[in-house]
């Protein structure tokens, strides 16, 4: 894809953000309040700027060495390439989620999913803010905005957590857990499991002599 962009082609879909590499023009950071930053478009733009910068830097480094491809991948630039790929894939995942929201018909559900998408975006990009500062995209104080936006989103999603978790509909037979069972009765389930466990059965699993000698002194 990068090669195609460098050759002057325009790529589309989730790779669309790479088109700006060619033009070297970066969008300006425009959010001034935490709730501005909590918007999907703003997160998308910031995330894209980070990823684009990381890709440009790493490709620049690759282009400036004369080492063989194996040497570059294994030793010289292994860490840079891994960081670049991970950031890119996280951004792609974010974009796919964001684009899929357009298909959601119900407006209330879409609202909650948008918050989830924004939260996921911030959760990923807050590990890469150094790239934003390095590229000159983030102004002073942007870190505070990001942290505050993160908190706003957490508070916003909080009332919807249980319905969202239940929307996965994982059956108890798959998620064998008293904590995460479908009724939420943690301790009752735990007791029930203890009562029916074969470890607590009076046949076979209780050692000889236990009932005669140990039980009376307990």
């Amino acid at each position: 894809m990068i090669k195609r962009v460098k050759q002057g082609e325009t790529v589309d879909g989730v790779f669309g953000y790479l088109n700006l590499i060619k033009t070297q023009s970066q969008p300006k950071f425009s959010a001034s309040t935490p709730s501005d930053f909590a918007k999907l478009e703003q997160i998308d733009e910031t995330f894209a700027a980070f990823s684009r910068y990381c890709i440009t830097q790493t490709l620049g480094q690759i282009a400036s060495t004369n080492a063989s491809k194996t040497e570059i991948t294994n030793q010289l630039l292994a860490l840079d390439i891994v960081t670049m790929v991970q950031l890119h894939i996280k951004y792609v995942a974010f974009q796919i989620f964001k684009d899929s929201l357009l298909q959601v018909q119900d407006s209330a559900l879409r609202g909650h999913l948008e918050s989830c998408c924004a939260l996921m975006g911030i959760n990923f990009l807050k590990d890469y803010t150094h790239l934003g500062y390095e590229s000159g995209y983030l102004p002073t104080g942007a870190q505070t905005l990001i942290n505050e936006a993160y908190k706003i989103l957490l508070v916003k999603i909080r009332p919807q957590i249980i319905p969202l978790v239940e929307s996965f509909g994982i059956p108890d037979s798959v998620l064998v857990s008293a904590v995460g069972n479908s009724y939420g009765d943690i301790y009752e389930t735990h007791l029930e499991w203890a009562k029916t466990s074969r470890l607590n059965d009076d046949k076979g699993s209780i050692p000889d002599g236990y009932m005669e000698y140990i039980m009376p002194i307990l």
Binding site: M1, K69, T70, T73, N74, A78, V82, V85, Q86, H88, I89, K90, V92, A93, F94, I96, F97, S100, L113, S115, C116, C117, L119, M120, N123, F124, L154, I157, R158, I161, L164, V165, F168, L175, V176, S177, A178, V179, G180, T189, H190, W193
Partner: protein
């Protein structure tokens, strides 16, 4: 703060899963008419997603274990099973440090 981002991200993983399956089905149709453009993208998505998602999920399970204290070690919480079941995935799905030959 620990669990909500995990929830949001796992919904995103579900969406990406559906997206990848859709692409794959499209690829199968395309291959029959000798078109292989999507093959490149499929490689891109699948190899990237598997390594990033499996690592994130493993970290997520550990984070859930820590957030429920000692109960996370008890079998009735279901987490030891989840950890045992999932931990090798990070290895066999590749964590991006596999060397080029």
């Amino acid at each position: 703060m620990k669990l909500v981002p995990l929830l949001a991200t796992s919904i995103a993983f579900g969406v990406c899963h559906a997206f990848t399956i859709r692409k794959y089905n499209q690829l199968l149709v395309d291959i029959k008419s000798q078109k292989f453009e999507l093959l490149d993208q499929m490689h891109h998505f699948t190899s990237g997603f598997k390594s990033v998602f499996s690592q994130f999920t493993m970290d997520g399970i550990l984070s859930i274990r820590q957030s429920i204290g000692g109960a996370g070690y008890s079998a009735w919480s279901g987490l030891p099973y989840a950890i045992d079941d999932f931990s090798p995935q990070v290895t066999y799905e590749g964590d991006n440090t596999v060397m080029a030959q």
